[in-house]
Amino acid sequence: MTNTNSRTNPPRTNTVLLDPTNERRVSTMERVGRPESLRGLTVGLLDISKARGDVFIDRLEERLSEMGADVRRYKKPTFTKPAPVDLRHEIATQCQVVIEALAD
């Protein structure tokens, strides 16, 4: 490539930087297929402990039970922290479907 600039610029060198990030590669996971019906399935309802979340979840439980789902209720100790690993494991092993409810 011809440099049309009449002044001569000093040659630029490549800069090597150290990556400040966690360098993780995000793995993609397949979603579980949507069930045809909730009848007979165990549905977990996770209350994150926000105010009035229970109002919403009570109504969900009512509707899901009418649809023939076996509903189980779970609750995070506080909405400000991620669900404890034991709780996540419990839900994953006991339920086929889970609904996490946010409210305020």
């Binding site: 630029r12 490549n14 090597v16 930087l17 150290l18 400040p20 100790p77």
Partner: protein
């Protein structure tokens, strides 16, 4: 262990540029006449000393690996191991180390040496990378020659919206000299992605934030202090409220690194205050993956989420420090992290007695977040020196100030229930008959800071406190 072994015998390291090295040439000749195991390494000019068979430490690897700080240095090596050394010219020392007497009879008994080329400020960063960069395990990212590296860092999402210093190997190696910890040491697990962060990754982000190496221990301590279940940086980051980690630093190290505890203490202009807090936030962003609009859901945020870090003025304080009140021994460097919003000013220019001033503080603290909110949030009260003087003159200590404040912040349930004073917000009706404290015990943190003129103080409001939210955390700072 050094990677460049020294030959057995007497090793003498010199450079022509050094006048003391030139002065001791006759001594080196005298030694070579006496012993056949004298090996001379020269750092700069391989023809020096003239006529002598020398080894040229051209890449300074021998000098670097054997920590040569001064030339001349004489080292006695037995079986590949250094037994003893002397630096500069001290006749007695040279005679002791070499085992040869009557050295340099016509020379003065003592003359200091010169700085080794391997510690030359113009070379040391490059040498540190040449001989030490293999300890760095971060991925190398090469920018194209035509690429502006500042723009490249914006494009990669590495910044908080302001330019950052390019984290080159040289700069990161220099940053790492600020700590005795190994670059590979794991410091904490950083939310929200729950990724282990090493000293090296913190150093990279500290370079980007603009820190000096001597700030690094403070940054490491702050990262440790926020990344745990007690402080809960995950929640502090994710909340819709406008809070971020507020870092209060306590002496003596704050003065050594030039932190500001006085005039414009929360403002612009002080490198240590601004870059330590910024480095912590960059670690959360880059290592933890905590970015605004993603896990950070703040409705408004606040400018302190770029950096909010300051030192307490302990020298001018009538009280024990915040760190001491939280169990840190006096004279020990410490930081306290608090989940805080931006500061707001308390003005009281007429108070000359502590009762009146306390009434002002209580009235202002009462309105924190909502006048009808109680027990949910903590606060830092940053007392300006002119206000603190009112208490000092009246003989009120820290405990008395806090006790009197809490006593004035007991609020009748009548004023707090939902709907009272035409405000829907409030506590449930069943609490109407109670008297409730605005703050939980220990919920007001008292700090002394600010400029010497102005009858002002500041309140920094907190976030959901206790086990359900975030607790202030205090950590000692160690090199």
């Amino acid at each position: 262990m050094s990677s460049i072994e020294l030959p057995n015998g007497l090793v003498i390291i010199v450079k022509r540029e050094c006048e003391t090295c030139r002065m001791v040439v006759p001594v080196i000749e005298q030694l070579r006449d006496t012993r056949d195991d004298v090996i001379v390494f020269v750092q700069d000019d391989p023809t020096f000393p003239s006529g002598m068979d020398v080894r040229h430490d051209a890449d300074l690897s021998v000098s670097w690996h054997h920590d040569i700080e001064t030339v001349p240095t004489v080292i006695r090596v037995v079986d590949g191991v250094e037994v003893e050394r002397t630096v500069g010219w001290v006749r007695d020392e040279w005679e002791r180390v070499t085992g040869v007497g009557s050295l340099g009879g016509n020379l003065p008994a003592f003359r200091p040496g010169c700085g080794s080329l391997s510690v030359d400020p113009d070379l040391v960063d490059e040498l540190r990378v040449r001989f030490g960069a293999t300890v760095l395990s971060a991925r190398r990212v090469e920018t194209a020659a035509a690429e502006d590296e500042f723009e490249a860092m914006f494009d990669r999402g590495w910044t908080d919206g302001l330019p950052v210093v390019p984290p080159t190997e040289e700069r990161v190696m220099r940053m790492l000299t600020g700590t005795t910890r190994s670059p590979s040491d794991m410091v904490a697990i950083v939310p929200p992605d729950l990724v282990e962060v090493t000293v090296e990754k913190i150093a990279i982000n500290a370079v980007m934030a603009g820190c000096k190496p001597e700030y690094l221990p403070w940054v490491i301590a702050a990262v440790e202090a926020v990344c745990n279940d007690t402080f809960n940086i995950h929640g502090v980051l994710a909340t819709t409220m406008p809070v971020g980690p507020v870092i209060v630093c306590n002496v003596p190290g704050t003065r050594a690194i030039g932190m500001n505890s006085g005039m414009n203490v929360f403002g612009q202009g002080n490198r240590a205050n601004l870059t330590i807090g910024r480095a912590v936030q960059l670690v959360i962003r880059n290592v933890g993956g905590g970015r605004p609009g993603e896990v950070d859901r703040a409705t408004h945020g606040n400018p302190g989420k770029i950096s909010f870090c300051f030192a307490e003025d302990e020298v001018g304080s009538p009280w024990t420090s915040l760190a001491a009140s939280r169990g840190v021994a006096s004279g020990v460097d410490a930081i306290t992290v608090f989940p805080g919003e931006g500061p707001r000013c308390v003005v009281d220019q007429l108070a000359r007695d502590p009762e009146s001033l306390t009434n002002t503080f209580a009235a202002c603290l009462r309105t924190l977040h909502n006048p009808k909110s109680v027990l949910t949030f903590d606060a830092i009260l940053v007392m300006g020196p002119e206000h603190a003087r009112v208490y000092a003159e009246a003989g009120w200590d820290r405990d008395r100030v806090l006790e009197e404040l809490h006593a004035r912040l007991q609020i009748s349930g009548e004023d707090l229930v939902r709907g009272a004073h035409g405000i829907a917000e409030g506590v449930p009706e069943r609490l109407r008959g109670l008297t409730l404290p605005k703050f939980r015990p220990g919920g007001i943190l008292l700090v002394h800071a600010g400029g010497g003129a102005g009858l002002f103080s500041a309140i920094i409001g907190g976030w959901a406190n206790g086990d359900v939210g975030s607790q202030p955390v205090t950590r000692e700072v160690t090199a």
